[in-house]
């Protein structure tokens, strides 16, 4: 494998929640290679957004990084100065969010917002800035460039706002795009358009992407590799094709089985119980209270993440390297 663009090792984040501290991320390992699209998937509260925020040092108090490293383009991000990390955000790693319209400045046109970014990062002004802005709009397939550049966010649809956000993100030529639930608020027909756009950007620009989502279908559709999170840990990571064909971790298996499938009755008993409170994490494997195959070992000790096959990491004492029951 080529040297990763982004390499997260043992990232641990705690939130001060008096009287103690709640551990919301435990030893997260994550790699993104150049021009690779990686999916980070999990249910609400599993820590997937916190991972992205911690990587970019955007965590707010009471949350803080208490361990691990984040290397990006051979630089350690956790120890960079505030000024240096600001340069990495945008130029190195750009981020887009779930609510595109709210992420844009409501009182500036799309063109003005692009102009600000281009002036600041590339020193582009006037006609050259205009040309670059039009180029970016074309890149994200925004259609009628002149109209879009003169439009305010409220005049554009949700999908167009998300395209404009992507154009803004691309303005600084980042090497990695982090998309946090970027298609969740969109209609499925529009979601498909955005996913296809992201795929084309990877092909044409070699843009690496980390797609954070709760939607397994989006991951399957768009990602080459997948990391599944549960209770602040990556429980399984694998090439997407292999993960969907044969999930090895019990959580992944049940998560896949729980999805509604066209024409099948609902799988009601997929995962009993609910996600643990980070202040009262179960002992041993955090999934054991909900696991259908938990053994005494699972309650007593914490499984390490092991590479059971090339590129396939599983954090489980009893992984099932067999085809899944689903489908």
């Amino acid at each position: 494998m080529t040297e990763p663009l982004l390499s997260v090792r043992g990232l641990t984040v705690e939130f001060d929640a008096p009287p103690g501290a709640a551990r919301v991320l435990t030893g997260v390992d994550l790699d993104v290679a150049p021009a690779e699209v990686v999916g980070l998937v999990g249910e609400s509260g599993c820590g997937k957004s916190v991972t992205a925020l911690a990587m970019l040092r955007l965590l707010r108090a009471p949350g803080r990084i208490t361990g691990g490293s984040v290397r990006f383009q051979r630089r350690e991000l956790t120890t960079l100065s505030e000024a240096e990390i600001r340069r990495v955000r945008g130029r190195g790693i750009a981020m887009i969010f779930q609510a595109p319209r709210e992420s844009l400045n409501p009182v500036l046109t799309i063109g003005q917002q692009l102009a600000l970014v281009l002036a600041r990062h590339d020193g582009l002004r006037g006609r050259r800035a205009r040309a670059r802005a039009e180029e970016l709009c074309a890149m994200v397939e925004l259609g009628d460039t002149r109209r879009i550049l003169g439009a305010y966010p409220h005049e554009l649809s949700g999908g167009m706002c998300q395209r404009a956000m992507i154009a803004l993100a691309l303005a600084c030529r980042p090497a990695l795009l982090v998309a946090d639930e970027a298609t969740t608020a969109l209609d499925v027909t529009v979601q498909l358009q955005i996913l296809l756009l992201l795929r084309r950007l990877r092909d044409s620009l070699g843009l690496a992407q980390l797609l954070i989502t709760h939607n397994l279908g989006v991951v399957a559709e768009a990602c080459q590799r997948v990391a599944v999170m549960y209770a602040g840990e990556i429980v399984e990571s694998a090439p997407a094709e292999q993960l969907f064909a044969a999930p090895w971790h019990p959580y992944t298996r049940r998560l896949l089985a729980a999805r509604p499938r066209i024409g099948a009755p609902p799988a009601g008993d997929a995962i009993p119980g609910s996600v643990p409170d980070p202040r009262r994490r179960p002992t041993g494997c955090p999934f054991h209270p909900r696991c259908y195959q938990a053994q005494p070992t699972c309650r007593e000790s914490h499984p390490a993440s092991e590479e059971l096959a090339p590129g396939r990491h599983v954090r489980c004492f009893y992984p099932e390297p067999a085809p899944g029951p689903h489908r």
């Binding site: 499925v188 279908g217 399957a220 729980a258 997929a270």
Partner: protein, 328 residues
């Protein structure tokens, strides 16, 4: 006889436009549907399709601007006051956002007991309390949850309370408005299974509303697809999913993410996004995005036409049998 018959139901809002003017917004446009006892009708549509407004108009939580709603042979649109309340007990609704659908200042046991007391479905406090616990049991909650406040429950538990409240009315029909879309996958699966079980136990009719075709397909034998307030296709679920005839249904089905990573996009990708219901296209409302649009689609809306056994689509090309049948 149908339990529920909706004919030509329309809902028009008057929204402010410009400094002083108001113009009409047709949120629901001449929708007709029928539902028998114990049956489920799936209503599929994206944002702005009018599916929630339609449900609220059927329950008279909003008054329709036109059309009729007949439930057990009685016309609901002309009822008001106590007469409406007595009939509406039989039609209940479950909302999308479980936290917002429960009064934050009331214990959930009180919320579930309220309809029992209002309609005097049990007499005596002990009987009411026993009934509440029974309902909690039906939806998979324990007696220990009765005294909780909504914020002390998880999203899935809150939605179970909302279902228990609806069942407390002893309804014949439940309108389920995106009941699982705010929940995680595992919670969603359990809730859908619960709804299926309740239906077979109580013989309830469901009006199941969702933007997610896969979810609808697990619950409903019949599906109706809405686009900008109008029905574009309706028929048996298997037909709609297997041989969708309206280009919008095809696009919707095509857009559902699949498990084959980096699959070649043998996809029907439609342009742009739904037009504003404020200025709907004159002809077919899907025409501006349709890959197979004809000149006549721009100015002549096509009514729902039979395109197969018990299967209708509102499309000139589909009616003429000249549309490629897209397969999932």
């Amino acid at each position: 006889m149908s339990l529920l018959a909706v004919a030509e139901l329309s809902k028009e809002y008057r929204v402010p436009s410009g400094a002083f003017g108001r113009r009409p917004l047709a949120a629901v446009d001449r929708v007709s549907l029928r539902l028998r006892e114990g049956e489920t009708l799936g209503l599929v549509g994206e944002s702005g399709s009018g599916k929630s407004t339609l449900a609220r108009c059927i329950l008279q939580l909003e008054r329709p601007s036109g059309g009729t709603v007949t439930f057990q042979g009685r016309e609901l649109t002309v009822l008001a006051g106590g007469a409406l309340r007595r009939v509406r007990r039989l039609l209940q609704m479950v909302f999308q956002d479980p936290a917002a659908s429960l009064n934050p200042r009331l214990r959930v046991g009180y919320t579930v007991a309220e309809p029992i007391r209002l309609h005097r479905l049990r007499s005596g406090e002990a009987a009411v309390r026993a009934r509440v616990e029974e309902l909690f049991g039906w939806v998979g909650l324990g007696p220990e949850h009765v005294a909780r406040y909504p914020h002390q429950l998880s999203g899935g538990q809150q939605q179970r309370v909302a279902i228990a409240r609806a069942l407390a009315c002893e309804p014949r029909l439940l309108a389920l408005d995106e009941p699982t879309s705010a929940l995680d996958v595992s919670v969603q699966a359990a809730l859908l299974a619960l709804l299926a079980e309740l239906q077979s136990r109580l013989g309830l009719a469901y009006l199941f509303i969702s933007h997610d075709l896969a979810v609808v397909s697990t619950m409903a034998r019949r599906v109706m697809v809405l686009y900008l307030g109008q029905v574009v296709e309706e028929g048996p679920t298997a037909e709609i999913l297997g041989r969708p005839r309206h280009p919008y249904t095809q696009a919707l089905l095509s857009a559902v993410p699949r498990d084959v990573p980096w699959a070649e996009p043998a996809r029907l990708v439609v342009r742009g996004e739904a037009a504003s219901a404020l200025a709907p296209p004159a002809g077919c409302r899907f025409a501006p995005r349709c890959p197979w649009v004809l000149p006549r689609c721009q100015d002549e809306p096509q009514p729902l036409q039979p395109v197969g056994a018990d299967h209708g689509a509102a499309c000139w090309r589909a009616a003429g049998g000249e549309l490629p049948i897209w397969r999932a």
